[in-house]
């Protein structure tokens, strides 16, 4: 039998390597931006702006890369034939994704803060207190949401596979199209909720949009009740992710098969 730790570790290493590559691209662009700034071709606010943009792009690319790696696990013999329980396989993959993406965010965040600080968008002492109050639940929501999206993608993928295996060709095609349509609608709705939630948050705190581009001290001084609401949101989103994951584990154990190469009889 293979232990959970073995599976998780191999997955974590592989995904870490993938994200390191993405990070490399991001750093290369940032270096170019810095050089442009140093030779006077770029203003301070543009440097921070573009760095932020690159960070966002890299974060999204990282999300997609992790989703792709995860989906490979469900349908390849390489992973499915390992003597480990299906739920452990699922958990290992989720944890590996989580660790890798959080590390990516940390590096991107440090880079972001570093550049912002150097350009005088000051971060004073009170920020660290505010970090615990405000940024933490905010990051927790983003992480919970990421996990929710990953499990939603897995669910869609697995359902699609189950339908393909269960129904003959043509019937399955229409059902899968319908499924894709529904899943896309659900995903859009979730993203809409996220942005509505963030807009509500910003309004509640009386923060103007411009303030969001830098880390000022008082910006992060969230009210107690707001923080509580945020943690509630974290709980709800996490619960959603857990529910979907349980469904996914069931599908994985009883329905999802590995891909078969065409040349085999």
């Amino acid at each position: 039998m293979t232990s959970f730790k073995q599976v998780w570790w191999v997955m974590a290493k592989e995904r870490g390597r993938q994200l390191t590559q993405l990070l490399g691209i991001d750093l290369a662009v940032v270096v170019v931006l810095i050089v442009m700034r140093l030779i006077g071709r770029l203003s301070a606010i543009d440097l921070v702006g573009f760095t932020t943009l690159m960070a966002l792009i890299t974060a999204v690319a990282g999300f997609v890369a992790m989703a792709q790696s995860q989906e490979q696990v469900w349908v390849t013999n390489r992973w499915r034939l390992i003597p480990v329980a299906n739920w452990r396989l699922y958990l290992a993959s989720t944890l590996a994704n989580t660790l890798a993406i959080v590390l990516l965010w940390v590096v991107l965040g440090v880079l972001e803060i570093g550049i912002a600080t150097l350009e005088g968008f000051g971060v004073d002492g009170s920020v660290w207190r505010d970090l615990a109050n405000g940024t933490l639940p905010f990051l927790a929501i983003v992480l919970a949401f990421t996990l929710l999206l990953w499990s939603l993608i897995s669910l869609a993928h697995m359902l699609s596979l189950v339908i393909t295996d269960f129904l003959p060709g043509t019937q399955g095609k229409w059902l899968r199209r319908g499924l894709t349509f529904i899943i896309v609608l659900v995903a859009l709705k979730l993203v809409d909720w996220l942005f509505t939630g963030m807009a509500w948050l910003i309004e509640k705190l009386g923060i103007s949009p411009a303030a969001f581009t830098y880390f000022g001290g008082s910006v992060m001084a969230f009210q107690g009740s707001v923080v509580a609401d945020m943690w509630l949101a974290v709980g709800m989103v996490s619960l959603g992710a857990v529910v979907l994951s349980v469904i996914n584990c069931y599908l994985l154990a009883h329905w999802v098969e590995t891909k078969q190469l065409q040349q085999m009889a």
């Binding site: 191999v10 013999n77 034939l81 003597p83 154990a253 098969e257 891909k259």
Partner: protein, 235 residues
């Protein structure tokens, strides 16, 4: 002594089509078994079910003492295991990863097998010729210490010299008490090696016989197999 493989009333369908019906099969330990059938008869499907690649079946599959899927996976080495590796990886990397993930994977055996078969550790999977890919598949499968080895058409598209090397690898590396199931639709490739043959036809086990019993009746295993198809290999 527990049987190497015990399949009882296995039924399996996909796409609203029955692929295997009432399959009952018992294989003892320490034998080399030929799984013979026409193209599409269900040989690969049966192996995938035993190995755990396919999951939604009715009936029971037991390998040695292992009845549930996870325990079975620890006892079975299936040639399909290599599916899913990044084609950019090198042969050596495959071994490293498998050694990390599988308790029964023997790295030294793998390197020796690669030497015997002429596989270069540094080559990338995507650059391997079809024959070399088959060799890699075999090397990976035989490097695990398992009770049951499933080799799916290992000699498909292989030239004579390579086949000889592969046959030798099989003979040299299969542990004494392990059972090997080798599927092939060219019976002559593996005839010499077989203790038993199992014939799949009409989505079930049509026959099971000892190879030497067949020959004692003056028939070659190939003739025996062809007799199930009235000279015509369409199901």
């Amino acid at each position: 002594m527990t049987e190497a493989l015990m399949i009882k009333q296995l039924n399996y369908r996909r796409n609203q089509k029955q692929l295997l019906t009432d399959v009952n099969l018992t294989l003892p330990q320490g034998q080399i078994v030929g799984l013979l059938g026409a193209n599409g008869a269900g040989k690969t499907t049966l192996m995938r079910l035993i190995a755990g690649s396919a999951v939604n079946f009715r009936g029971s599959i037991q390998v040695g003492d292992a009845g549930d899927a996870v325990a079975r996976k620890a006892q079975v080495s299936f040639s399909g295991m290599i599916d899913g590796f990044n084609p950019n990886w090198r042969v050596g990397q495959v071994a490293e990863t498998l050694a990390e993930l599988l308790a029964d994977f023997r790295g030294e055996d793998f390197y020796q097998l690669c030497d015997l078969l002429g596989l270069d550790q540094k080559q990338r999977i995507k650059r391997l010729s079809k024959g070399n890919q088959r060799k890699l598949r075999l090397a990976v499968t035989l490097s695990r210490r398992a009770q049951l080895y499933l080799l799916d058409e290992p000699f498909d598209g292989i030239d004579v010299m390579t086949r000889k090397a592969m046959l030798n690898s099989i003979l040299k590396w299969a542990p004494e008490l392990a059972t090997l199931v080798i599927s092939d639709h060219h019976v002559t490739d593996i005839e010499q090696l077989l203790d038993q043959v199992v014939v799949i036809k009409a989505r079930t086990i049509a026959a099971q016989a000892q190879a030497d019993d067949i020959r004692a009746q003056g028939q070659s295993v190939e003739q025996y197999f062809e007799s199930f198809f009235g000279g015509d290999l369409d199901d």
